[in-house]
């Protein structure tokens, strides 16, 4: 009986708890992440989708709105997006899940007020990619992960799909709320066009992404001259925040696990009272009473587990991913600054070497072949101009990036605070509810 406690590292004096058995860090990086084979639904030949029973219940949609309303704050929302109705789509080569994306909007730049399209996970990846390319230093809400190789999560089960669906919806909602991102052309295309394949080809190609990565690596190797103070602070914050979120996520998962085991024991505990009650006469009633209470307790515990798993844990997990986004965004900003500095260095070193050349040539007083000289001068003059332009351009980029990040950061912070606050309040509420219900019995 005490074996389960032994393998955990829970010590009653609030020491570190990190349990060794939750392998949430490992990622299984498959290419096609929404390749799913439903073991329970029969796959049919051809393209006819098989319905899996997962309609988005109106109740939960309303809750989603409420949560987001609280987060929305000042602006009145003019765009409402839902992701629902995951269906298994079968072709000759593969099987994957397709979601329905429903948009309702009052915005003028949209032709219609309602749109319905079908999208798969890869499409979402594409959208995110284009947004990142266009706005490298804006904080974009994270997508749910690629399939994670956790020991406990079954690959194709309902819970996984439901969790993913919610996260996708959240992604779109957050993006639509963002003052800059919501006006992105790619977002519009994503929400309105039936067929994305044409647009996808215009998106960031594999090679250009490679290029970015190579430059990034090169720049990180050469090092940054000086990072502005505010961004150093942000970096530190991002690191710490990431740790805290990861811890909270793990703790919550651990609580869910413990609660489940508690529930199991309760389920065995209750019936013993009933069995005993069968034996007795006078005592039968009170014994059955206790059995009933234990059963109710079990039901409430189940409810509590559900809430933790569906509300708090996903919220925390989201922000774990957000923390990573923060770090990435900061890195990109650093890269831009590094590029600028590189160009700047080239400029200054070039102009100093040019200066030396000029002096030496005037001293020699030997006129080189005239035409060639003019040509060279002209060539040098052009490169110099180009270089200067590029440098100026990059400097502008850096400024923009910084400004964007700064602005976005505070916006994100506010959003984070509201989100987590509401999740935690909700959890607290749930616990209060739990205890109150159990008391009533």
């Amino acid at each position: 009986m005490s074996a389960a406690m032994d393998e955990s590292a829970v010590i009653p004096h609030s020491h570190a708890v990190v349990p060794a058995d939750i392998s949430g860090e490992m990622l299984d990086l498959e290419d096609d992440d929404d390749l799913e084979v439903f073991s329970k639904t029969t796959s049919q030949a051809g393209g006819s989708p098989v319905l899996s029973s997962m309609p988005n219940s109106p109740g939960s949609m309303v809750n989603q709105y409420q949560l987001e309303e609280e987060g929305g704050g000042v602006n009145t929302r003019d765009m409402f997006i839902t992701v629902d109705n995951p269906e298994s789509h079968v072709t000759a080569i593969e099987t994957f899940i397709v979601y329905r994306v429903l948009t309702r909007t009052t915005r003028g730049d949209f032709d219609s007020s309602e749109y319905e399209v079908r999208r798969r996970y890869q499409d979402f990846l594409w959208l995110k990619g284009t947004l990142e390319e266009a706005h490298p230093t804006l904080i974009i809400h994270p997508l749910p992960e690629k399939f994670v190789m956790k020991g406990m999560v079954e690959r194709f089960n309902e819970d996984f799909i439901e969790t993913r669906r919610r996260a996708l919806q959240h992604f779109l909602s957050k993006t639509a709320e963002h003052p800059l991102l919501s006006h992105s052309q790619q977002l519009k295309v994503f929400l309105t066009e039936q067929e994305l394949t044409a647009h996808k080809k215009q998106g960031p190609s594999f090679l250009s992404r490679m290029g970015e990565t190579v430059r990034a690596v090169a720049n990180s190797v050469r090092g940054l001259k000086s990072r502005p103070e505010e961004f150093v602070a942000m970096q530190e914050y991002a690191d710490d925040f990431s740790n805290k979120m990861a811890s909270l996520d793990k703790i919550t998962q651990r609580i869910i696990k413990e609660q489940k085991e508690y529930l199991d024991e309760l389920r065995q505990y209750g019936p013993i009272y009933t069995q005993w009650a069968d034996l007795e006469t006078e005592l039968s009633e009170p014994l059955r009473g206790v059995a009933g209470c234990v059963d109710n307790c079990g039901r409430e515990t189940e409810e509590q587990i559900r809430h933790l798993a569906e509300v708090l844990e996903p919220s925390l997990h989201q922000y774990v991913l957000c923390a990573d986004t923060l770090k990435t965004v900061l890195r990109r900003r650093d890269n831009i600054q590094a590029e600028f500095e590189a160009k700047n260095d080239a400029l200054t070193s070039w102009s100093s070497s040019k200066k030396v050349d000029h002096e030496t040539s005037s001293r020699t007083m030997e006129p080189p072949p005239g035409s060639m000289r003019t040509c060279e001068t002209r060539k040098h003059k052009n490169s110099r101009e180009e270089l200067k332009e590029e440098a100026a351009c990059l400097e502008e980029s850096v400024k923009n990036a910084n400004r964007a990040l700064r602005g976005d950061w505070s916006r994100w912070e506010g959003s984070m605070k509201t989100d987590l606050k509401s999740a935690l309040v909700s959890t607290a509420d749930k616990n209060v509810e739990y205890y109150e219900k159990v008391t009533d019995l």
């Binding site: 406690m5 085991e261 024991e265 013993i272 005993w276 007795e280």
Partner: protein
Amino acid sequence: MADGRRDPSDRTGGSEPAEDDLEDDGKATKAASALSGRLEVSIAETEKRNGKNAVNMQETFTVYLVETRPTEALAEGRNPAPDSLWRRYSEFEVLRSYLLVTYPAMVVSPLPEKRAEFVWHKLSADNMDPDFVERRRVGLENFLQRVTSHPVLSNDNILYRFLTEEHGWKEAVYETGFQDKADSRLRALSATFRVRNPDKRFVDMKHYSDELQSHTSQLLRARARVADRLYGVYKVHGNYGRVFSEWSVLEKQMGDGLQSAGHHMDAYAASIDDILEEAEHYGDQLKEYLFYAEALRAVCRKHELSQYELEVASQDLVSKKQQREELATGSVRTFSLKGMTSKLFGQEAPEQREARLHLLEEQISEGEEAVKERRAECQVHVYSAWGDVQRFRQQKDRDIREALIGYALMQINMCKKGVQMWSNTKECFLKM
């Protein structure tokens, strides 16, 4: 369970007052004369002692201070100093063993467990653990109070001397020779024999006691596992406390809210220790009846044993009478070796026959005496035992009902605390 809680304002001593709802065939008067009516008993303190045990080895053991006060004096408003003496657990065991042997028709209250069983993770299995010692003190006090309220047991002299004579008691109890009887009793209890006509009530009671034992032990085991798990849930929340605190350092606006929420989580995690310690009382109440089931079973078995002995004696008498008849009439009713040999080898001499007949007559009259005795024994046992079983049943119904109510109240209390804690935490979150 008698009110065994150590509450100084509550020295009422006895479990039920004498005018309780016992059966009205004279038991009421017996209860009034129970020792508890005259003497208030309690166990006030415990101490650790060092000494040599039976095999002359050094050991540490706990002693319990048994205090007695005359109830008359208390009723009159006086508060005399109690008489007291120290006893250790093994002495209680001897006392109980004596009572079991001497009063086989009585359901004798059990002692608290010798070693901690049904232990869950945090609970210590160490006999020297102060919590364990305290619970044992309560259990021993409860034992004494039950025994001194018992209509029959409380009149026992050895019991009286246990309570009042520190040193002479041991010799007295061994002089009764109960030790030998104790051994044979144990053997008899576990022996297998086939009894033909036991009193059905006792057979049913025996089945009941088996079931009671099974259910209470299952319950105790399951309860321990539930406690273990609940402990885990609460304690993990303590980690929230730690991380919230660390996180609050990073944040500007959210800092205060997070910090206080963290404190509440710490308090929440710590609260489970007290909650579960209190809940042990419920476990002890169940344990008492787990052991009581054993005592009840022993009484039923004793009945079966006396019934069996009666049957054996009767059977013996019947066969002896048959032999006499055969010998007297010369006819062989049943096949016997003697009959065959006498047929084959001729009858025996008349003098031998006379001698044998004479012997048989003696044996028969002895046998008749024996059967009479056995029958009387059996009937007395049935009568007194059934009376005590009834008493026990009523006590059990009362006690368990009380225990269940107490348990429910405890749970409600725990939930109220939970509501409090999470409401506070919510307040903190709202301030973030």
